[in-house]
């Protein structure tokens, strides 16, 4: 384990445009003759549509078209299936929904898209949308996953053979786990909930559809993490056209966090509308529309059990969980379902696990990936169990973790859920954290807090992440003047790829950083790409980029051998020069590049142009790098008011070889902030009728500067062995460990008062209520 050595950070190449207001987000784009789309959304959580009357709306000022689900069918537009089902990852068959871009006769959640209005201006479109009259016949509503499995629960999908159950995923060994539980000295069981949260990128989703009648070709400008994925889904499933007839452009994107990893119906609707009205059509979500129509994250209830001996040896874990899918099996809902189980063994040598989760339809917005995607749910379960177990047997929670931690010598280590960790020093990380965070000095801080009337609690959290799904392609291309472009298959929306990848290429090729143009997010210029999510870009993008560089140099050698009149095998590349071994003959790479573009000469035989492309591949469902880390957290609680202050936060992260420590730490800070939001503030709430009651930032609270502690972040390098760069992912790390770190620290503070469980978000009211209930129990006893 080493500390990364890094040059001083001087800013990112992409910063300037954002700092000067020159950034170009989708809503900043204005096309000629642009019209606007407004949505008509279901106000009912579950209802039959008896009729839609568009006559008033259609006659309103500025209205160009009012379109409904019947028009979708008439125009032959197809529904959208799940991006993939668990079966692709070796899971069960399940019921996957086909979601039309506008519903026809049945709404299944508030926010279901019922109709659209296209008008000259945004205001005119919205006002007309409000005038579309829909006759609903309300149906009974169910919003909770477990309630939806009751025999008498209202059913969402008549043709789903298993009621509201889409699928049940099982991992582990039930018999071995039963035996472990039978033999263990201590077993305990807890009910644990990861509530639904709203990703809430600060830029609401936005898109512009363009139809070029001359070429019969579409262009979609959209705020997307994965433009090629959007293109595939929309072209194949909805428009039923060749992918080459759809260009998807994702310009600057104001935050993704998984929300923009998969298309939403609006992305297809604006294209269809553009063809219908013969003009570009723009749609930008308002925040209340975003909270209503965006996919949401998490939403899992768990019955979790742990079996261990009094010496702290964990023998087994058993889990039954219910994941709330919402009304549709939509987009990339599969990864959270999988990872919420697969990551439960965490950094520990748990010999037996028996893990089950049920994915269930309810009358709520669809669930999909959100930063961490199942990993925070899994980590919440195992780390809550570890703390409960430590409390039960009276052992220091750090000690309990150390006793069960996978040793570095055991690498590669395969978990009972089938993940093979290649590298990591989980115990070493814990020990460093205990030292840096002054674990031993906690008692003094707790006593000092007591003097101020505060309860102080601490926690130590170990976590592991899986990163690097699917394959990726990167390209490096010299231009005729010797400058070069990186054509990236990944998609940066805050992660700083333009800086990091350009710096890597500048270093490798010894070219000036400012001679590099970074290109991404346009399916016409990027051959193929998978976009950015699941902490995949450093490993897959970085490795592919390195291979692109290697391919480019190999090709450069062909030219160098000719112009230097040397044996091809004797040509080597170093310091930006192609040199003939053992001689002083050399030519700069940029000169070789220019030769490749001359209208005559060796390029005639070698082929015009100098570029290189590279590919890197991960495996679906079993991604090949495992970032990991430890969070130490201390909180103070006011026992009278329930007010919580997160006072100390120490994050240690093994991200393999560090490409840019400042950017890595920025990712960790942001992830921890989202984790803190989940732990203390954020919860999507529906009332018993399925009405969304957290429909604006007046009710849905994101963390603000004042909520956040100062985070002390340290990066430690345990090089990854599954890729030539030795890197591991970073994007989700903070979000995985932070929620449980905060909840465990709060519980550590209040457990002496008799509060043994708290559901997220642990709001002040929730903690206050728990403290009062415990007080009454003590009074009664």
């Amino acid at each position: 384990m080493t500390k990364p050595s890094q040059p001083p950070f001087t800013g990112r190449t992409e910063d300037r445009r954002f700092l000067t207001g020159a950034g170009r987000f989708v809503d900043d784009i204005e096309l000629g003759r642009q019209a606007y789309m407004a949505l008509v959304l279901s106000t009912h959580a579950h209802a039959e549509i008896r009729g839609i009357d568009t006559t008033t709306a259609a006659a309103m000022p500025g209205v160009l078209a009012v379109l409904t689900g019947a028009d979708v069918l008439a125009d032959g537009l197809g529904p959208v299936p799940p991006f993939f089902m668990p079966k692709l990852w070796g899971g069960p068959d399940g019921y996957g929904t086909l979601r039309p871009i506008l519903v026809t006769d049945h709404v299944r959640c508030v926010g279901d898209r019922v109709a659209i209005v296209i008008a000259e201006t945004r205001d005119e479109a919205r006002l007309a949308a409000e005038a579309v009259d829909i006759d609903y016949a309300p149906l009974p509503v169910v919003t909770g996953a477990r309630a939806a499995l009751a025999d008498d629960a209202p059913r969402l999908w008549a043709d789903c053979p298993t009621g509201n159950l889409s699928c049940t995923l099982r991992l582990g060994d039930a018999a071995a786990t039963a035996q472990a539980f039978a033999q263990a000295e201590v077993t305990l069981k807890r009910r644990l909930i990861s509530p639904r949260v709203a990703p809430s990128s600060l830029e609401p989703r936005a898109c512009i559809g363009v139809h070029d009648a001359a070429e019969d070709r579409f262009t979609l400008y959209t705020s997307s993490q994965d433009p090629h994925g959007f293109r595939a889904v929309i072209a194949r499933n909805v428009l039923k056209i060749a992918e080459s007839r759809l260009r998807v452009v994702s310009p600057d994107v104001g935050g993704g966090f998984g929300l923009k990893a998969h298309m939403h119906p609006e992305d297809a609707l604006v294209l269809w509308a553009a063809r219908r009205v013969g003009r570009p059509v723009k749609w930008t979500a308002t925040r209340s529309e975003a909270l209503l129509t965006d996919t949401q994250g998490r939403g899992q209830e768990v019955e979790a059990e742990i079996a261990l001996d009094r010496d702290g040896t964990v023998r087994g874990v058993r889990v039954e969980a219910w994941h709330n899918l919402g009304a549709y099996f939509w987009g990339t809902a599969t990864p959270p379902i999988f990872f919420s189980l697969q990551l439960i063994p965490n950094t520990y040598t748990i010999p037996a696990v028996d893990l089950t989760t049920h994915a269930v339809f309810t009358n709520t917005a669809p669930m999909s990936v959100y930063r961490g995607a199942g990993r925070p749910e899994a980590t919440f379960v195992i780390e809550r169990l570890m703390d409960e177990a430590a409390a039960e047997i009276g052992m220091d929670p750090a000690e309990l973790r150390l006793r069960n931690t996978i040793a570095p010598e055991a690498m590669p280590f395969t978990t009972p859920t089938g993940m093979t960790y290649d590298s990591g020093d989980f115990g070493g990380m814990i020990r460093i954290a205990l030292d840096r965070g002054d674990w031993a000095g906690f008692a003094a801080r707790r006593d000092a807090a007591k003097g101020r009337g505060r309860l102080r609690g601490r926690s130590i959290t170990s976590y592991v992440e899986v990163a690097g799904v699917m394959n990726e392609r990167m390209e490096i291309r010299f231009d005729p003047d010797g400058a070069l472009s990186i054509i990236a298959g990944t998609h940066s929306h805050g992660q700083g790829h333009a800086t990091v990848f350009s710096q890597m290429v500048a270093d490798w090729l010894s070219v000036p950083l400012d001679s590099i143009r970074y290109v991404q997010g346009d399916t016409d210029t990027v051959l193929i790409g998978r976009g950015t999510f699941a902490a995949r870009s450093s490993m897959l993008g970085g490795t592919a980029l390195m291979r692109a560089k290697d391919a480019l140099i190999e090709r450069a050698k062909d030219m160098a051998a000719i112009v230097l009149e040397a044996d091809r095998a004797a040509v080597e590349f170093s310091d930006g020069m192609l040199r003939v071994t053992g001689t002083n003959k050399a030519i700069p790479l940029t000169e070789v590049a220019k030769l490749y573009y001359l209208p005559a000469g060796p390029a005639n035989a070698l082929g015009i142009g100098l570029s290189g492309a590279g590919t890197a591949a991960g495996k679906p469902g079993a991604a090949p790098n495992y970032p990991n880390g430890v969070i130490l957290c201390e909180v103070e609680v006011d026992p009278e008011t329930g007010a919580i202050v997160v006072d100390r936060m120490l994050a240690l992260d093994d991200v393999g070889r560090v490409l840019n420590s400042t950017i890595c730490e920025g990712q960790i800070h942001g992830g921890i902030a989202q984790g803190l939001g989940q732990a203390l503030l954020e919860e999507v709430t529906y009332d018993e009728d399925g009405q969304l009651t957290s429909g604006s930032f007046m009710d849905y609270g994101l963390p603000r500067a004042g909520h956040m502690p100062h985070i002390e972040s340290h990066l430690l390098e345990v090089p990854c062995t599954t890729n030539p760069l030795g890197v591991k992912g970073i994007g989700e790390s903070g979000a995985i460990g932070a929620p449980v770190a905060i909840v465990n620290a709060i519980l550590d503070a209040v457990r002496p008062l008799g509060v043994g469980s708290l559901d997220m978000p642990v709001t002040q009211v929730r903690l206050w209520s728990a403290l009062r209930a415990a007080e009454e129990m003590r009074g009664a006893a």
Partner: protein, 263 residues
């Protein structure tokens, strides 16, 4: 938003006349509540009578034992005012607890009080200090002014022009803010005039702002110490999924103590 017209009134009379003539008008002050409501479509007046250009509605002046604050005075001006700081510093401290800097640069005292939003801060001070509402046509005592949730004694076309706050010997405000919106879940304003104690509570009352008479009596009789441990369980408080009445009652208890501790 719906289409609507804006009339920028230059006199109070002109504002009232325009309001009456139109039939579907609303007054616009800082717009921090009204404009978002109009954006959501939940308010759709045909005419906005903008009061911001009327001379004399903005400004702070100390007049003897009274502080007069124009209704169009912004929260940021209340915070910055030397007169407020010397006469009733608690009003400046309260203004500083309203939303955030950007909102305080627009939001006005009159807007907050005219709405009688159960969750806005200033009604607590108005009630506890026994302020007088000066309108375009009359003077209304605080005790007669707040008539229920979002309701005041103002007639539909009546404009709040200024508020006159008697200067207390001591005053303080403590607030529990909603973590997302920043509105008061509970807010307690205490004021002492000689031996007379007055306590106004905002954020939690079923009928909006109210005076906490139990606390006033206890303070009168036993001083600050007597306000500890009052039974507030009988209060009729707002009760919703996010903030149950029991929490609000407890919060009023500790906010009262916090406010008294500032004196």
């Amino acid at each position: 938003m719906n289409t609507f017209d804006i009339f920028r009134a230059s006199t109070l009379d002109g504002a009232v006349a325009a309001f009456r003539d139109h039939g579907d008008a609303m007054y616009l002050s800082g717009g921090m509540t009204l404009v978002p409501s109009m954006k959501s479509g939940l308010a759709a007046p045909g005419l906005l009578v903008d009061l911001s250009a009327i001379k004399g509605l903005r400004g702070i002046a100390r007049e003897g034992n009274m502080l007069r604050i124009g209704a169009l005075t912004r929260f940021s001006e209340i915070i910055a005012s030397a007169d407020v700081a010397t006469a009733i510093p608690a009003l400046g401290a309260m203004a500083a607890k309203v939303a955030d800097r950007h909102v305080r640069n627009r939001g006005t005292l009159g807007g907050s009080v005219a709405n009688n939003d159960p969750a806005s801060d200033f009604p607590a001070a108005v009630l506890a200090l026994g302020a007088t509402m000066v309108t375009d046509r009359r003077r209304i005592a605080a005790a007669d002014y707040f008539t229920g949730l979002f309701e005041t004694a103002l007639e539909a076309d009546e404009v709040l022009a200024a508020l006159e706050f008697p200067i207390p010997d001591a005053a303080a405000y403590a607030k529990h803010a909603h973590p997302a919106s920043g509105y008061a879940v509970a807010g307690v304003f205490v004021a002492r005039f000689g031996d007379d104690w007055r306590v106004g509570v905002t954020g939690s009352g079923e009928e909006g702002v109210f005076r906490l008479t139990q606390a006033e009596q206890a303070l009168q009789q036993g001083g600050i110490k007597a306000a500890e441990g009052l039974n507030l369980g009988e209060l009729e408080l707002l009760d919703d999924a996010t903030f149950p009445a029991a929490f609000r009652a407890a919060a009023i208890g500790w906010l009262l103590r916090d406010a008294l501790a500032q004196l």
